[in-house]
């Protein structure tokens, strides 16, 4: 094994409690699925961080490229009316 060959890169998502969404925690290297789960467990969840893990190969993630970013997201900048801030919330509703 050469020092450059550390296997594939995987993204790690941790679920902290039942019902909570899995949140991205970071990435690890591994050669196969089993090893990916185990490495993620050993690197990210030994201090009570979670109750479940999702792993996926980083190469499978699709993303918006930098050059496309303006056309994707900037049109939303001047459309504040899309936020529900023009309604009066009934008293007693603490969180929306």
């Amino acid at each position: 094994m050469s020092s450059e060959d550390q296997g594939q890169l995987w993204e790690v998502f941790i679920q902290s409690k039942p019902g909570q969404p899995h949140k991205h925690a970071g990435s690890i290297h591994a050669y196969d699925k089993e090893m990916a789960l185990e490495n993620a467990r050993d690197v990210y969840t030994r201090r009570n961080e979670g109750i479940n893990l999702w792993l996926l190969p980083s190469i499978e993630i699709i993303s918006v490229s930098d050059s496309e970013s303006p056309s994707y997201f900037e049109p939303a900048n001047d459309k504040i009316y899309r936020h529900p801030t023009f309604y009066n919330l009934p008293e007693g509703v603490k969180q929306m």
Binding site: M1, S3, Q6, I28, H29, A30, Y31, D32, E34, M35, E38, N39, R41, D42, V43, R46
Partner: protein, 250 residues
């Protein structure tokens, strides 16, 4: 505390203590970051196991010995770990093969001891079993990867199996004066553990395309305090700090 039980506790603790030390020597020398951390995590689990037993032994010594006294201030012949645990790390295949043999042993030992009539042993085993189940899964998978990886990885794993096999029988040896404790359900039934261990090892070696040595010769002595040349070097390193700074606290 009765000597037979005390020695049994020490065997369990010393196996974990010395194996943990061997794994800790690998810290920062793993093949890559994730494996380095995983190996160190196993070392931490084992030192936790050893500490729990040393603390219990200290309690039962009516305050005459601290757990550190027991862990760090004994002569070589008073350590009762099996020879397998003190074998050098060698290459990664040797480190992991030693771990696989020990993990399988621990798994069946603690499964059996969970039903021990000794409440300390049953509680310790129930807690350790979760850790050991994970360790065994990990080391088994590594054996399978070695055997089905490259020619080199398979050859190294086969060499490790060949060179470590002679130490495996000692894990299951029973001294004459402990038979009664086995029959009364305090100690584990080593005969049963050994046959389960053999089944597991056969299964994993089969999946790994690796072979057990033919006509093996077995070596033992560690459980009786007769250690190999490695043990002196290990204790020199382990005992350096308490010897040099006897009053050190941390």
């Amino acid at each position: 505390m009765e000597a037979g039980i005390q020695n049994y506790y020490l065997e369990i603790a010393d196996n974990a203590f010395i194996l943990s030390h061997r794994l800790s020597e690998n810290c920062s020398k793993g093949p890559y970051l994730e494996e380095d951390l995983a190996c160190t995590n196993v070392a931490l689990d084992l030192i936790g196991l050893a500490e729990a037993v040393y603390v219990e032994l200290s309690k039962r010594s009516s305050g005459t010995l601290s757990s550190d006294d027991i862990a760090y201030r004994r002569d070589e012949s008073d350590y009762l770990n099996c020879l397998l645990t003190e074998q050098p790390n060698g290459d990664f295949a040797q480190l992991m093969t030693r771990q696989f043999f020990m993990d399988a042993y621990y798994y069946y030992l603690f499964t059996d001891l969970t039903d021990s009539s000794d409440t300390f042993l049953s509680a310790l085993s129930a807690k350790s079993l979760k850790e050991v189940t994970y360790h065994l899964k990990r080391s088994s998978e590594w054996m399978i990867r070695f055997g089905n990886g490259t020619e080199v990885s398979k050859e190294k794993a086969q060499q490790a199996v060949n060179s470590l096999w002679k130490y495996t029988n000692e894990l299951f040896e029973v001294s004459d004066n402990s038979r009664e404790m086995v029959e009364s359900g305090v100690f584990a039934n080593n005969q049963k553990i050994q046959s389960l261990w053999k089944q597991k090892v056969d299964e994993i070696l089969f999946l790994s395309n690796l072979k057990k040595p033919e006509n093996p010769v077995f070596i033992s002595g560690g459980k009786a305090g007769r250690h190999g040349e490695n043990m002196g070097f290990i204790l020199t390193e382990i005992q350096f700090l308490p010897n040099r700074y006897p009053e050190a606290k941390w």
